[in-house]
Symmetry: C2
Subunit: 312 residues, 2 copies
């Protein structure tokens, strides 16, 4: 998710990591998931006015809730199978909204072959808040952590990067000077993420470390680096960008930084041996290395460069 007030990382570090009893099942909070027996667990919340707006189509909001959660489990090379849903109903929504929301939820539950095994409904006096907890069983008795990259591993991404954040830009800006089909493409990428369920076995069989791109390519790569205790070299020009993204960036060059910082793409970022980009629309963008910094070459935006060449 974007817009976190306090990052999960800092929050957890400060208050919980001292509790050693938690380390086994929580993976010491080094990953987005927890592990109990043969299953991994994840949970994500989306809030009105932060991650969605009450005027958005409720059908799409439901799909977003399911998909951001599905993406977390898929990125570990595991198929999600069960979920629980917390529905805190805010004052801006009515029965019609709820009906359409539930249709979207049901549709995606069927699409991703999930079982909704429980939930809770309450009202709030303000905004709507939606949480999903999701879990699934390990494939081949393993899942792919984000902490297990090795120095020398290549860095790969699926699909194209930055579309969702550029879609959000289109949504917020009333008048925008690009042709309709590009705007619609980006808006659709923002409102309806497509978690890469098609790659779940590929990740399970091939990735050395993996995460989905939810906070933004740079942040999520930073998470792999931090938890794997490594650095990375990436080549900005290698990052795959859609035609629509190219069009909008040529009109609004400042948006270029969203390729690195824009969240909510729900594509996969993973590491592994040479040649994993030979098919499936996967692109090699760099290499893991010893050290503690991420170095980005070919990123010519001087105003932002400093931020991308630092020790952590």
């Amino acid at each position: 998710m974007n817009f976190k007030m306090i990052t999960e990382f800092d929050f957890i570090k400060k208050y919980l990591i001292s509790n050693k009893k938690n380390s086994k099942h929580s993976l010491n909070y080094s990953d987005d998931v927890g592990l109990v027996d043969d299953k991994i667990y994840s949970t994500d919340t989306i809030c009105e006015n932060i991650h969605f707006f009450s005027k958005d189509k409720p059908y799409h909001i439901a799909q977003k809730l399911i998909r951001v959660n599905v993406s977390d489990i898929i990125s570990k090379g595991v198929k999600p199978k069960y979920c629980l849903f917390n529905f805190s109903v805010g004052k801006n929504i009515d029965q019609k909204w709820i009906r359409n929301f539930m249709r979207g939820l049901k549709s995606d539950i069927n699409f991703f072959k999930l079982n909704l095994i429980g939930g809770d409904t309450t009202k709030t006096s303000g905004e709507t808040v939606l949480s999903l907890t999701i879990f699934g069983s390990l494939i081949n008795n393993r899942f792919i952590r984000r902490s297990s990259a090795k120095s020398g591993d290549f860095i790969y991404v699926s699909g194209t990067i930055g579309d969702s954040a550029l879609g959000l830009f289109c949504r917020k800006k009333k008048k925008i000077n690009i042709i309709k089909k590009h705007k619609e493409y980006l808006l659709n990428r923002y409102s309806k993420p497509n978690p890469r369920i098609d790659l779940v076995n590929y990740i399970n069989n091939n990735a050395s470390a993996s995460t989905d791109i939810s906070d933004g390519l740079y942040s999520d790569l930073l998470n792999i680096c931090r938890t794997s205790k490594l650095g990375a070299d990436i080549n900005f020009n290698k990052i795959p960008i859609s035609n629509s993204a190219k069009v909008i960036i040529s009109k609004y060059p400042k948006l270029k930084e969203l390729i690195l910082n824009g969240g909510d793409d729900y594509e996969l970022l993973f590491t592994g041996k040479k040649g994993l980009d030979s098919n499936k629309n996967i692109t090699k963008i760099g290499k893991m290395k010893k050290g503690r910094n991420i170095n980005i070459t070919d990123f010519d935006d001087i105003t932002n460069l400093d931020g991308y060449k630092h020790k952590f």
Copy 2:
């Protein structure tokens, strides 16, 4: 929980129960829990201004979040062991609040021997919303449903009933004409529920059906009746009431109905053979019967009686 806009029962029935694929693991939504392999799962949300207030002690709010969830699992005769936490941080709380909240959370996680295996933190633009998802492994390969009461089973409750709702009354009313120790007892029962972890094995070994009292004795008994397809006779005078509850009801007789309707006691309501009230502060209050109505004897409040003698 109290104050639900739409009951979980109606909500689920309307939108989800038609999905037959969900029936196995969700128990067809006839219970508060879901079942996957050897574990049962539950989730509960508490919202600012509905279930707590930002001026309440954050340490106690955290305990309430843990305890309402622990209570759900305990009432099934299962020990909760793992949890995931969704923290949607509202605008009224600051770092100090969060620090004290996390202390309460950690303290109760340790007290109930839970593992916090994951979570999510986001901000909201309004209220704070807190969800916990909790699960544990079956004891003796079984758990106690609320749908499995038999005609002729006796109905039992643990502890005393109504204290929490009377505590909420004390909290809301500024001037109240009872002596301090009674007020404090009731306030404490409201702010710090004590789920009956001491009875978990007793329930597992003896109860034919079981639920915790969260919505109120009458509502929760109604859930047992509905899902077990039975009726019930209960004797109002047999319902165990604390001394403090007696004192406040003698001053404010209208509060008597809170014994039936007040929520958040987190005591246990269960059915079973004769004699389960021989120890452990358990009281027999009635008997399950064929039919479709709950009959309450000795409840002399004429104005409210109609509501308690109806078919459902």
